[in-house]
């Protein structure tokens, strides 16, 4: 056994280099949330609630599309939620929460004038520099439209910075379709090629019917297109098959993954996918990255 004295400063330096660790002089806890006031709410479906928020201290939230927040109500806990608005719309930010458990139900009981408690933005969003100047296709299934809406708004607001912009949105049935006002704008916009579909039509539905992959038949795409996929895991393999047939490289495909994230800062271990933490290494990954992670999909 080496004696303790044989541990050298060089070893410490090597450890610091391995981890990218530099001493952090912050004396703040990672876990104290900030107060966000609810300015507006909407209830697009029976289970989802759409919140427009503003930080109570008046500061702006600085984030990238695809990043997440830990959102909570004190006494109930917090859950990870993708930001649903673009940082180009600076003064407020938006989230959509689906009531599925105790915390999300508590959040969705809050009304205008109440507060939500947030930490973040957390994690890696979309690499906007890599998308700059490129043709972009967004494939959003169900509630997967919420985090991608941040990117859609961003591209719409800086339309001249991007190439062709195609948006596929699919939901189970017409009642599950989110953001009716946004969709009306996208439909009317010349800058966005918007296509939507439902798996099952209702009597009043006159639009496209079929799963989201059927939308690939409605337009042509070049192999250089950058693609963003966000939706239920079952959707990925079918969308990927279409992208493969178009010759789109997996380095150019981005996915936004969902996991249990208790801490959001790369410590608690719950969101780990092989050796990556979804909360700090993701939630946005290239498909090439997650292809190598056996536990990703």
């Amino acid at each position: 056994m080496s004696t303790p004295a044989e541990v050298t400063a060089a070893a410490e330096h090597a450890a610091a280099e391995r981890t990218g660790c530099t001493c952090d002089n912050s004396h703040e806890s990672l876990f104290v949330p900030r107060e966000a006031k609810i300015l507006h709410t909407a209830q697009p479906t029976a289970t989802e609630k759409h919140f427009t928020l503003q930080l109570a201290d008046g500061e702006q939230l600085d984030f990238t599309p695809g990043q997440i927040l830990e959102v909570g109500v004190m006494g109930f806990g917090e859950i990870p939620i993708g930001l649903a608005s673009s940082p180009t719309r600076k003064y407020t930010f938006e989230i959509v929460v689906r009531s599925v458990g105790r915390v999300s139900t508590a959040i969705n009981k809050q009304e205008v004038g109440d507060s939500l408690w947030i930490r973040g933005p957390l994690g890696h969003g979309f690499d906007m520099d890599a998308l700059h100047g490129e043709d972009v296709l967004v494939v959003a299934g169900g509630i997967g439209l919420c985090p991608t809406r941040s990117l859609i708004q961003y591209i719409a607001d800086r339309r001249e910075d991007f190439g062709r912009f195609v948006l596929f949105y699919g939901a189970r049935d017409p009642l599950q379709l989110l953001f009716p006002e946004d969709r009306a704008v996208w439909r009317a916009s010349h800058g966005i090629e918007y296509h939507e579909t439902v798996d099952r039509a209702s009597v009043h539905w006159s639009g496209h019917v079929g799963n989201i992959t059927t939308l690939f038949k409605t337009t042509s795409l070049t192999p250089e297109t950058r693609v963003i996929i966000c939706g239920p895991p079952v959707m990925f393999q079918f969308v990927l098959r279409e992208l493969d047939s178009l010759g789109i490289s997996r380095e150019n495909i981005y996915v936004d993954l969902e996991r249990r994230m208790k801490c959001g800062v790369g410590k608690c271990g719950h969101c780990q996918i092989n050796d990556k933490y979804c909360c700090v290494d993701g939630p946005v990954f290239t498909f090439a990255e997650i292809q190598a992670l056996e536990e990703a999909i």
Binding site: P4, L30, V32
Partner: protein, 344 residues
């Protein structure tokens, strides 16, 4: 570096005086086994312990740690470090602390851990009695313990105390111990080196080779099923591990129903719900639904994923998981040996 020689009575006098003014946490006997606990006097301290039930990480990362308090108007942190001397830590547990130091410090520095860590002075001590399931003599030999401030080694007639850091110097500055001779320092070095050959269990494989082979075994589902067949998903192996640091976070109200606390609790990746998320209709999606996937994740983490960051496996060879596992399947020596000997 300076080194001192203490007779038993010097150590007893020092500890008795220290415990009157400072929180001292040291190994003590508990129902035939040993635990790290706050002491009132030197008489309680058992430096002849083999291994404690729980590792000393609980001093910085308690099983239940309040991280936030709130009332109707405000939310505040709970960082409130207490000056502490952690006394009598075996070198393998120092390694465990080094690893958690690094993991709590990297990327987002966790002040809820680090504040207490910085307020703590660690006095390591030599292993006098080897626990039956220990294998620290043969794992991670490239990883040296470094998080301690002083090291106490039992030798004939007393102890050799080596001071490693300024904190260690400050702790013993006024103790008045005599300097150790070069013969006494050499005897301490010999005692520690000799001890390394005394573990009953041995893992005779190089860490890098283990990391590569364990990683390659990821897709061998039959192997993981076989190794984890008797797993109860109880998480005991996680709970007693010096390098496990996963946690759950839960809120609780006070009786007034307007104030309360947010607390993090030790959690265990072997437990069934660890990677599950809630889905609509009361359903859940579990990203590691089968116990073999959870068992595999633990070994991937220990033997492969964290190696690059830590410079070796996230395992100290303390043998606590082997001893705590009801089904006796957690022993890293047996699991890693089975993987290494499997035909590829």
């Amino acid at each position: 570096m300076s080194a001192f020689f203490l007779k038993e009575r010097d150590l007893v006098a020092f500890l008795n005086k220290l415990a009157k003014t400072t929180r001292v946490v040291a190994p003590v006997a508990k129902r035939g086994r040993f635990v790290f606990a706050e002491i009132g006097s030197a008489a309680e301290v058992r430096l002849d312990y083999d291994v404690t039930i729980l590792p000393p990480k609980k001093v910085f990362f308690p099983p239940a740690q309040r991280i936030v308090t709130f009332d109707a108007e405000s939310v505040s942190d709970c960082i409130d470090p207490v000056e502490t001397v952690l006394f009598g830590v075996h070198f393998y547990d120092v390694k465990g602390i080094d690893m958690t130091d690094l993991l709590f410090r990297e990327r987002n520095a966790d002040r809820d851990y680090l504040a207490q860590r910085e307020a703590t002075t660690i006095v390591a001590s030599s292993v006098q009695s080897v626990s039956p399931r220990a294998f620290w003599g043969s794992i991670g030999s490239s990883v040296k313990p470094k998080g301690h401030d002083a090291f106490l080694t039992k030798v004939d007639g007393g102890y050799v105390l080596e001071i490693v850091t300024d904190k260690g110097t400050a702790l013993f500055a006024k103790a008045g111990f005599r300097e150790a001779t070069s013969e006494e320092i050499a005897a301490a070095k010999r005692a520690n080196a000799d001890r390394m050959t005394e573990c009953a269990e041995t893992l005779p494989y190089d860490s890098d080779a283990v990391a590569a082979k364990v990683r390659d075994a990821f897709s061998d589902e039959a192997l993981w099923d076989e190794l984890s067949n008797d797993c109860f998903s109880c998480g005991s192996c996680n709970t007693v591990c010096p390098t496990c640091y996963c946690f759950d976070v839960r809120d609780a109200w006070n009786l007034d129903q307007t104030s309360g606390t947010r607390t993090r609790y030790w959690d265990a990746c072997l437990t069934r719900e660890f990677a599950a998320i809630t889905q609509p209709g009361g359903h859940s999606e579990n990203f590691r639904a089968h116990h073999s996937a959870r068992f595999r994740h633990r070994f991937m983490r220990k033997a492969a994923y964290l190696n690059d960051k830590l410079g070796g496996p996230a395992c100290t060879g303390c043998g606590r998981c082997s001893a705590a596992c009801t089904a006796d399947i957690a022993d890293p020596v047996r699991v890693i040996t089975a993987i290494m000997e499997r035909a590829s």
